[in-house]
């Protein structure tokens, strides 16, 4: 069974039809990249999957249940586009609060915090106030807050955008380790280069899905040499693009 099944999802925001009827599937135990330019509806889709977006038609099923169902809330981890943790708390206080809210039993919160600190490589900063951290550390705290309680599905909205190359590589390695451990990850990015890091790609353009392939299949189908080229060939019918 797929981790996410979206069927003819329609979302209108501010009078604009952001998702006109989107259908897609995300397989389990994989790192799936949701790629597309800014404003193409990636965040709206992710908000729909975690159940905080008002929708206007269609269905979203997550782990076999309707998205946003109470029973799903401790099984899905969500990282918003801008880091969303409490800047006036320490790293460990943030993780402990989110762990407890997610349902980690009181006696196990401490070891869960230690485990996640290790995962996001912030053990040395556990007692630091989040407001004093660097941008990369800040976004890793936000990621860590979604990893507590070992959710089965992780929905990560541009978790690597704006980070330095070393940190980006480390995070993608972490995503694959989590997938090997049984998790499903849906990771969005508007940087097409990140395609090489994903097991499977969902390419979005103006609220529609234009590709759903592993990278090699996508390149073969479009005749392009990289994901960016493939995307451009898919969204610009032959002849309308600028000649190479």
């Amino acid at each position: 069974m797929d981790a996410i099944v979206v069927d003819r999802l329609r979302v209108v925001r501010g009078g604009r039809e952001v998702l006109p009827g989107l259908s897609l599937r995300v397989p389990r135990r994989a790192v799936v990249g949701l790629l597309g330019p800014s404003g193409c509806g990636k965040s709206t889709l992710m908000r729909s999957i975690v159940g905080v977006q008002r929708t206007h038609g269609g269905t979203v099923d997550v782990l076999g249940l309707p998205a946003g169902t109470r029973a799903l809330r401790d099984r899905v981890g969500y990282v918003t586009q801008s880091p969303s943790v409490y800047v006036d708390l320490t790293v460990a206080e943030n993780l402990a609060y989110f762990a407890a809210v997610t349902g980690v039993p009181r006696g196990r919160v401490h070891e869960e915090v230690d485990r996640v600190l290790e995962l996001v490589d912030l053990t040395g900063h556990r007692s630091a106030r989040v407001s004093r951290l660097s941008g990369g550390q800040f976004s890793r705290v936000s990621l860590g807050a979604a990893l507590v309680g070992t959710p089965e599905l992780l929905v990560l909205d541009e978790p690597t955008v704006g980070l330095d190359p070393v940190l980006r590589r480390d995070l993608w390695n972490l995503f694959h380790r989590l997938a090997e451990g049984g998790a499903t990850l849906l990771v969005s990015s508007h940087v097409m280069d990140e395609a090489v890091r994903c097991d499977r790609l969902l390419l979005m353009h103006e609220g529609r899905l234009v590709a759903d392939d592993p990278l090699p299949a996508l390149l073969e189908r479009t005749g392009a040499t990289d994901a960016e080229g493939a995307f451009l060939r898919l969204v610009e019918p032959a002849g309308t693009g600028v000649a190479p």
Binding site: V52, D74, V79
Partner: protein, 244 residues
Amino acid sequence: MSPRLTLLTAGRVLRQVRHDPRTLALLVVVPCVLMGLLAWIYADTPVFDTIGAPLLGLFPFLVMFLVTSITTLRERQSGTLERLLSLPLGKSDLVAGYAVAFGALAAVQALLAGAFALYVVDLNVAGPAWLLLVVAVVDAVLGTALGLFLSAFAATEFQAVQFLPAFVLPQFLLCGLLVPRDRLPRALELASDVMPLSYAVDAMRTITTDAGATADVLRDMGVVLLFAVALIAAGSATLRRRTA
């Protein structure tokens, strides 16, 4: 609603405040300073004993209103609210958590300001001192409840701050301090009847002049508490898990 999640959230909010010593100091010191200033202005006149108690009900109310509305607005703007709503945390757990945390702060603040007024600058009232303190605490809790409710309607800090002149100052004008409520034009008197601050100030005025009217004061307090509970319930009902 889960008592565990409510207390967890209250603990987290208090931890945030604890990391901000200047805010804590302001919360404790400002109402005391204002009471001291008031006593000094009216030194050697009976005026302080007349308006001291009503204003003791007002100062913590104002401070707690502002602090609560700004803090809850920050939760909304930082993205942590969106994350929390995707987790197994009830809307009522969140709002009640805030109410418990700020209610506790309100109690400490009002008790200190009341004790300062009674024992440092020698406020004399006809009613019992304990009742004065109870009313001060309940009024401060009302400020918290109003802040919790109204912050749901503010999209920015600019708006939240303007809710003070918009929703609190009219209550101040009509609460009976400037013109006794029964001498207001009829329409305004009716309006003041449905404003919670009117009952808060009525109680303080009764304590000021009447030694044997404890029952009246407690009835007014009952009304204020009902308002506070209704505002908190409305605050949690207006919170939407799914937003546009």
